[in-house]
Symmetry: C2
Subunit: 116 residues, 2 copies
């Protein structure tokens, strides 16, 4: 349970930055080299590498160096765990709003019957 | 677009902490007072209030004080936006893995036909 919480902390932390989210979006379409990933960003390579290191240490991507090229791949399981947590919350929230709507409806039926 | 990115930064930042996630989980089941929310945590009230302030400034909860009681409510739209972003990424990822699976299948059919 504690590991699960630490893993979610890391996933959400990594996601709280637009550059890191853009890199993840790119990697959902397939692996890419660091050079390809850095290209769309108006950012020095050292700053960009910091974001990649956060993504890798938070477990959202893997990278492997072959010769002079480092290739990055997404770890989709981590994204799936974050999505599953949010989806679980939505279910609770919807169940609660459905109960509330049901209650309001019953109240309105009650009032309309009182009025007859 | 920039506002959307800032809003996602804030949502994911708020979610990157187990206390804040637990508070959000509780609030999906209905509004609660600060006292009720703080009760399950082995944490001083000032530290707990810091988490509530992060949740409120990041837009994941609203709070209102009536008399001496401050009541918190979830802002489900923010959670929904974060979930929608993750769900979008999953779609790209699945499309990519489906294409890959299709390619492997074609390769295997090709090889088995070569073998006949």
């Amino acid at each position: 349970m504690e590991n699960y919480q630490i893993s979610l902390d890391a996933a959400f932390h990594a996601l709280a930055d637009p550059t890191r989210r853009a890199v993840l979006s790119r990697l959902t379409k397939g692996p890419a080299s660091v050079k390809e990933l850095a290209e769309p960003f108006d950012m020095g390579l050292p700053s960009f590498m910091k974001h990649l290191r956060v993504l890798e240490s938070d477990g959202l991507i893997h990278s492997q160096k072959v010769g002079r090229v480092r290739t990055c791949r997404i770890n989709a399981e981590k994204l799936a765990a974050a999505e599953a947590w949010l989806s679980e919350q939505r279910k609770h929230w919807q169940a609660q709003t459905d109960r509330l709507a049901g209650y309001v409806e019953l109240e309105m039926i009650g009032r309309s019957e009182d009025g007859n």
